[in-house]
Assembly symmetry: C2
């Protein structure tokens, strides 16, 4: 079952672009990990809020990706630039443009 996730995080003042760069740094390897879409954005109404929209072949693929050393390093590097305000929403993907199923 195709899995979706919307993650929202708030960055410390001035740190947004650094966090965006970290989030985008591993994008080229995502497809082979079972990722169908991974889009990093800023909220239009709040430049310190970053929103990541993700589509994965399964929740297991998503969870496994977070256990890779590169992912753990990226999270550790971004963490000091964040305020600690996170939210996330898990989705069951029905289909569409940009989701393979």
């Amino acid at each position: 079952m195709t899995y979706g996730y919307i993650g929202t995080m708030k960055t410390q003042p001035g740190m947004r672009d650094g966090v965006v760069a970290i989030l985008l740094s591993g994008v080229e390897s995502l497809r082979e990990l079972g990722c169908e879409s991974y889009v990093v954005s800023m909220a239009a109404d709040d430049p310190d809020t970053i929103v990541v929209m993700e589509v994965w072949q399964s929740k297991d693929h998503h969870d496994a990706s977070l256990q890779l050393p590169e992912a753990k390093e990226a999270i550790a590097a971004a963490m000091p630039m964040l305020t600690g305000e996170f939210s996330g929403r898990e989705l069951v993907v029905a289909g569409g443009l940009g989701a393979d199923d």
Copy 2:
């Protein structure tokens, strides 16, 4: 500037699959309208909540798509199946897998 939108809507009991079908009915024509990604999902924690994640070449492309007769017909068909609880978030897309820029 690549534009993103996350739209959330709540369906009347039993109406979810009908709304999902309407939302997916025009997908094959989206790319030529300037859409890069359009993924329809159900919230994992609430089967009556539908979440649409969209990426467009620009906000103008997105807005123009909603003015097409097919879009207006789809919205009119879905509306009676919805509770009227909507939320939306506009995004400035930085990049990633599934966004061309």
